[in-house]
Symmetry: D2
Subunit: 133 residues, 4 copies
């Protein structure tokens, strides 16, 4: 059902900090990925099953804005939203909050659909379209 | 109380796989770290608080044996054990199991105690010794 | 001197692939970072010295477009460009090419200047402005 | 020719530091991997070609001892050594030095040979045995 929204919680690992004493900026890409996988699973979808069925979803575009740093051991909430049904592409928007509900990071990823065998673009599978309509 | 044992659950992220189609072997080091932090927290300890109090615990030795591969989206159980009270060092042993309870990986890390200001070895803090005796 | 341009070469590590058999999309953030550090060094600047002098440059914005995948063991060329002199912020643009000179990835990062002690925004250091004017 | 020895240079990335201000201990596993790939390449071998020919070399055992920390922007030398010809397994030993020639880290990885199609153990390929005899 659109707009689609799901919240995921995740604790910052020590390995994810850098010498600035905060989460290294590239690691949020992992958090986004974990959050959208979790959002699909919570709604009966499974990216793992999708790949097993021969469809891959490579990321074709990514954007991140950094407002405040996350720190080691912070329990983060990642809100994943989908506003538009999947067409040739599917866009996820993310918002990362800390326990004080401060907005730390916002961003998005746009994914394409690809036939795993041919590595060519393909249409979104019915199962996934069903999640978002 | 010794022997100390704690179980942590953690789901494999896509980013943690490699082109063999399994978890890249170096990522288990992160899983060990997340597991021992969680084990301390569950028992009233906090590595974050420890660092804030001026004590760091660098890893001085690490060993891993790989029995079977973990895969994307697997829900792993990491069992963390401590058999000996902390002296100049503290050793954690780990066992990683999948949902079918197959043993995938075993390993250990030995950590030292270091004064964060001087970067010199120091004695284990009382709070931590209390957890393991 | 503007426009500033520098090329860095870097070989893809096995650890950087994922189960799609290509470089995991988040790792390009590391490549961008390595490339801009290298670009500064080649022009007499040093991010390490900058931090040692009390100035940090957190990333405040990041964007990536993925055109074709990089693969394990590829020798990549990362072209780093700066078009505008540093003001409150400094933007780096990147272009990643493979050995066949195909454009794989384009992106940018915008960095701010921060006083390491106060963690407050500060003006770009003279040494850095000198590199880009 | 045994004993086999090769040196690789590699610069520490910012992303590889942690909030202790040094290289996060798990990242040395990546350095080891990059070093052994480079050692093979320099001697006419190619892990990429090996995988393309249907043989994978999963890591089955890993050990690391940490003597002194590496820091951001350090130019590291990783010495890779092989003392025994490949049998069912192949062991690489590593030594990591900084620019002052201080020994920072020592370690080893033991790799097995696996048929990529069946995922069963297999004999080391002739091309690889030729490198080490």
């Amino acid at each position: 059902m659109l707009p689609f929204e799901h919240s995921t919680q995740l604790r910052v690992r020590y390995a994810e900090t850098d010498q600035m004493g905060v989460v290294w900026h590239g690691h949020y890409v992992q958090y986004f990925e974990a959050a959208r996988t979790d959002a699909l699973r919570a709604n009966g979808g499974s990216y793992r099953a999708l790949e097993a069925s021969g469809i891959m979803m490579p990321v074709v575009e990514l954007g991140i804005s950094y407002h405040k740093p996350a720190r080691y051991d912070d329990l983060l909430t990642i809100v994943t939203r989908v506003a538009e049904p999947p067409g040739a592409r599917l866009r996820f928007d993310y918002e990362i909050l800390n326990e004080a509900r401060e907005q730390l990071v916002t961003g998005y990823t746009t994914l394409a659909f690809m036939d795993a065998a041919t590595r060519r673009p393909c249409r979104p599978p019915h199962s996934l379209r069903a999640l978002f309509t």
